[in-house]
């Protein structure tokens, strides 16, 4: 659990702190705080990783897979696992700050809301990416999929798709933090929004899992994913002040 001590408040004056710190450092401080808090308790990553494994297990019963269908549904299945496990993780991002009124302290701290948001998003990104890599390894073993053939490009798609999940998840995590049905609301809210991003990621991963590089006909999917990330990162950074502070 985060404590007020983790916050970037020192006995130096606010102005000194600001001028020395700079935006990037504030983002880094928030990120480091979140990662530290999470790695100490491990509550979100444990739950999320376990959930990903359980879904991977269930999918093997849901579809009786022969190698051909396996290849066809592999990427869709994988991204659904990421999306499900991701919401579990992202739910905790702001909810973690509720005990001891840490959220109020964070908002009151001399950190702009956008830095707070980006720091949290980056921490979530690191955690989610780690869980995705773990699922990918387990997936490769259980489902006999050779995912390392186009390793570099797959990592690029994974990086972009995960950022889309993270940015939407973090902003909606902030949105739903004070709502009673938080755990249910987050997935209901973010999945429709994520339709374009998930679709792009699934299409690209499908290509890469089949061992083909991203061809000229699939580049537009990459652009779509990139565009989604750029637009929503920008809009979220602008609007997060209204969400957190008002």
């Amino acid at each position: 659990m985060a404590t007020v001590r983790d916050l970037p408040i020192t006995n130096k004056s606010l102005a000194v702190q600001r001028s020395r710190a700079g935006f990037a450092r504030l983002v880094f401080v928030v990120m480091a705080k979140d990662l530290r808090a999470e790695l100490r308790t491990k509550e979100a990553i444990n739950a999320s990783a376990a959930f990903a494994l359980v879904i991977l297990l269930l999918f093997s019963f849901a579809f009786d897979l022969d190698p051909d269908t396996n290849r066809q549904i592999a990427s869709g299945l994988l991204w659904l696992v990421f999306a499900f496990a991701g919401t579990l993780l992202l739910n905790r991002s702001f909810a973690r700050e509720l005990p001891n009124d840490c959220l109020d302290a964070l908002v009151a701290a001399p950190v702009p809301a956008s830095a707070l948001f980006l720091g949290k998003a980056l921490a979530n990104y690191v955690l989610l990416f780690a869980i995705e890599m773990l699922s990918l390894v387990v997936f490769g073993i259980f489902y006999n999929v050779r995912w390392t053939v186009q390793f570099g490009e797959l990592m690029l798609v994974l990086a972009l798709g995960t950022w889309a999940l993270t940015i939407m998840g973090t902003v909606f995590s902030a949105l739903t933090v004070n709502i009673k049905l938080r755990e249910v609301m987050l997935p209901i809210l973010i999945y429709p929004f994520l339709v374009p991003a998930l679709m792009s990621a699934i299409q690209l991963t499908l290509e890469l899992m089949a061992g083909r590089p991203i061809g000229a006909d699939k580049v537009s999917w990459l652009q779509m994913l990139l565009g989604f990330n750029v637009i929503y990162t920008a809009v979220s950074v602008v609007l997060i002040e209204s969400v957190l502070v008002g």
Binding site: L175, N178, W221, L239, S242, V243, G246
Partner: protein
């Protein structure tokens, strides 16, 4: 002010009813289309419903931004009213489309570009309503709902382009290709219907706005009563 608004509502209601009545009479008198028979006439409502729904979304987007900038609750009331009306229009659009598809394609639904994006759009705005119901504190509710509304409006074109990218690579087997042109006097009926729907939308929005205002008044009275 209230009286004036009532007059506007009545005038608009009469005008909308008149236009719709005349339109329905004219549509009933039109000949049947060669390939589709009578069912093609659903287009006179189907298309205007979609346009009116999108117009509502645009108004909701603008008033959500205005709320975040000015923090005036009348914009929040406008946003929720117009979103509800838009949801009803879009639902009408989806339902009329489905009825048409059942008769012409033989299926209720296909994952075509327009159908899918219209459905995703509907779900996005439904989630706007959900978040409104989930948050109780009015200021917070208005703020969060405005943010969701802005996000939703931005998502609609992205969804449309992404699904177009997806489905043009895998064309649906039951795709209706219409090569016939639409006569200009028929387009005029579509335009009249659109105007009537806009009026209807304005009426519903104004009635809904009044409910929101009354609700706010009730809330503040209740708070006042609790204060003593």
């Amino acid at each position: 002010m209230k009286k004036m608004r009532n007059t506007i509502i009545y005038v608009l209601a009469i005008a909308a009813t008149l236009i719709l009545g005349i339109d329905i009479y004219r549509i009933a008198g039109l000949p049947e289309e060669q390939a589709q028979g009578a069912i093609f006439k659903i287009i006179f409502f189907h298309v205007p419903l979609a346009i009116a729904g999108f117009a509502c979304a645009s108004v909701a987007f603008v008033s959500s931004i205005l709320f975040l900038v000015k923090k005036d609750f009348k914009y929040d009331a406008l946003a929720v009213s117009v979103t509800e009306v838009g949801l009803a229009f879009l639902a009408g659009n989806l339902i009329t489309g489905s009825i048409w598809a059942r008769i012409i394609w033989g299926i209720w639904w296909t994952w075509d570009v327009r159908l899918t994006s219209a459905l995703v759009c509907w779900i996005l705005y439904a989630s706007y309503m959900m978040i409104r119901h989930a948050v109780e504190e009015p200021t917070q509710r208005a703020r969060l709902a405005a943010v969701v509304s802005i996000f939703a409006f931005i998502d609609v074109p992205i969804v449309y382009f992404s699904i177009r990218l997806f489905r043009t690579q895998h064309p649906a087997p039951v795709f209706f290709s219409s090569t016939g042109s639409f006569p200009p006097d028929w387009s005029f009926i579509v335009f009249c219907n659109l105007m009537a729907l806009f009026m209807l939308g304005a009426i519903f929005t104004m009635i809904r706005l009044r409910q929101e205002e009354t609700q706010r008044e009730l809330d503040s009275l209740r708070r006042l009563a609790h204060a003593f």
